[in-house]
Amino acid sequence: MASLDVIQAIILTLITASTPLLIAAVGELVAERAGVLNLGVEGMMIVGAVSGFAATLQTGNPYIGILAAILAGVLLSILFGFLTLSLVTNQVATGLSLTLLGLGLAGMLGSSFVGTPGVKLQKLDIPFLSDIPFIGPILFGQDILVYVSFALVALVAYVLFRTRIGLIVRAVGENHTSAHALGYSVIRVRYLAVMFGGGCAGLAGGYLSLAYTSLWVEDMTAGRGWIALALVVFSSWLPGRLLLGAYLFGAVGILQIHVQAAGWPIPSQFLSSLPYLATIVVLVVISRNRAVARTNTPACLGQPFVPDR
């Protein structure tokens, strides 16, 4: 049936469009739960994208590319952590400079890759199951990172709310003075949370250059890192809602492809601006209900911590 094929195609593009948002956002959620606002997601993402692409091109193995992307994100996040946590610089300004630096680094490293075809991360076809009509390719024929994204959300939800580690992370984000008084190393917990966020952002970038497309395009993150940051607000810092948000935004993002394919006479620029406008609308709607928005906001988010001896 033709219409089923269309629906299937839409769902498949939806998944590829949403996965990078989900991965980047879940990492930032952990960092923010620990009280650190890292506005460098966009920068870590684009460096992840170029590192993943370069490593894959060198080795021919996209899985090594994935590792390189994660590593790049972690390295940049350590730089961010050193400034904001060890030197207590302003988190907003430092995050911004990380994004500026990342966009520059990626453009510089990637300038020789423009137009070079890369190696695409293959879809994993789970034998038999992926042959099931309609739902087979959707549920069992994705690339590994799609499964990883769901696993990450489940893992983060479990660890944050069901384990002692999660309790410590949340305590550090909620009240760093008390957490410090209880003997937890606020700085160390925050470093680890920021590094987790960096790894996720790098991985999300790698997804863009290895699975979403297999090309390197300058500025290919196109604000997805910022949208991931907005998603964290949208989710009110709850991993489950992140899933909903990422797929909602993925849907807005792919709308233009399908509307244009359908031949509607709407300027492409207008369609391209929809995800950004949607982000604004969502931020307004979410922030409007302050009681709800505030209950889950980590109380120490963005605040520097200097342990007194």
Binding site: L87, V88, T89, S97, L103, R188, L229, P267, I280
Partner: protein
């Protein structure tokens, strides 16, 4: 070993002055290492990047041309950041200012007369201001995060400009290039000398002086600093946080808008899909490097303009990507922020074992 910060009894005034200089030196060192890694003679590269553009008159003028938008935008951002308001969307306000300021020369292109330019500047300022007011109002009314909303609007403005110059505002005699009409003579900002330097530079200097006086010598300036550094005290003094957010966004938006229309009417002479090499973002670095002080932005603006010029020169003569400029800019902001720590804190390296004995808590394991 780990770092430990010890709060200084008072601001180190020495560090306030030299910390930006340390940051610049560190950035140059980083540049030298970067060029060595790229296999380029670092001495030669740094000379080409940062000294050579200063040796000729035309490039000195070009320096002023590039510094003009940076200084205009950064001045306004100083007001924002001092009052703890985070306008990150100056790039979008720049774009919208360029669009609204261009309405006259593009849509009413046969108009001539001395009133056109002042009107264009005014409309550019109003456009930038209105666009900046959106995140401010959304923050005041709904509590929406202004960092994210102002940033999203940057992408929207860029797409709107792209649509205009490819669609309704495309030059009918332009052989289908995505460009607007060339502005008529009465819609082009007059040059200040024989070269490309134009009246925008004067606007920048005026903005520096006006905002410098506002910050240093008026009650408003005091209010900005109190709300930024001690919001609670500001509330007791009866200063309204919400009015300040709107004020800061409007001032910085208007200046970004003026920068936008000055760039289009002064340097480019028409609208194009891309009118800025990231001035709105670079201005953030200018503001911080200039110590959030309008006069400081004058010097910082010239320095970052130099990074653009050097980047172009290096691209031509060394064959490296023009993105190197952005790397330099990002690293510079990193170092500026890191060196600022020295103003408030003394940094000590502490041996871990000692610290563990002292604190003795559960964090002493491992």
């Amino acid at each position: 070993m780990r770092l430990e910060l010890e709060k200084r009894a008072q601001h180190s005034s020495l560090m306030t002055v030299i910390s930006p200089l340390i940051a610049i030196v560190l950035t140059l060192l980083f540049g030298a290492i970067l060029f060595s890694l790229l296999g380029i003679n670092p001495g030669k590269a740094l000379y080409l990047y940062f000294i050579d553009p200063l040796t000729e008159l035309w490039s000195l003028e070009e320096l002023v041309v590039k510094a003009t938008p940076l200084i205009l935008i950064a001045c306004g951002l100083c007001i924002c950041y001092l009052s703890n308001t985070w306008n990150i969307g100056a790039e979008g306000q720049f774009t919208v200012g360029a669009i609204t300021g261009s309405i006259l020369p593009v849509m009413f292109y046969d108009l001539e007369g001395p009133y056109i330019l002042p009107l264009m500047i005014l409309m550019g300022a109003l456009g930038g201001m209105a666009y900046a007011a959106i995140p401010a109002l959304l923050k005041n009314r709904f509590g929406a995060n202004e960092i994210l909303t102002s940033l999203m609007l940057v992408y929207v403005a860029g797409l709107a400009l792209d649509w205009l110059v490819r669609g309704p505002w495309r030059d009918p005699d332009g052989y289908n290039f995505p460009e607007s009409r060339l502005f008529s003579d009465s819609a082009v900002l007059p040059a200040l000398a024989d070269g490309r330097m134009h009246w925008g530079a004067v606007f920048a200097v005026v903005a520096v002086v006006v905002l410098g006086v506002l910050l240093a010598g008026t009650l408003k300036g005091f209010e900005i600093k109190v709300i930024g550094s001690a919001p609670r005290a500001g509330r007791f003094a009866g200063f309204s946080q919400k009015r300040m957010v709107l004020f800061a966004f409007c001032i910085s938006g208007a200046l970004a808008g003026i920068a936008g229309i000055s760039e289009v009417a002064g340097s480019i002479g028409q609208l194009r899909p891309v009118i800025s090499p990231g001035y709105g973002f670079t201005a953030i670095i200018v503001a911080f490097l200039g110590r959030l002080n309008p006069i400081g932005t004058l010097l910082a603006g010239l320095l970052l303009a130099l990074s653009y010029l050097g980047g172009e020169a290096a691209q031509v003569s060394l064959g490296i990507s023009d993105k190197t400029t952005r790397v330099f800019q990002g690293v510079l902001l990193f170092f500026v922020l890191a060196c600022d720590t020295l103003i408030l804190y003394r940094i000590k390296l502490v041996r871990n074992s000692v610290a563990q004995v002292v604190s003795g808590g559960t964090n002493g394991q491992s």
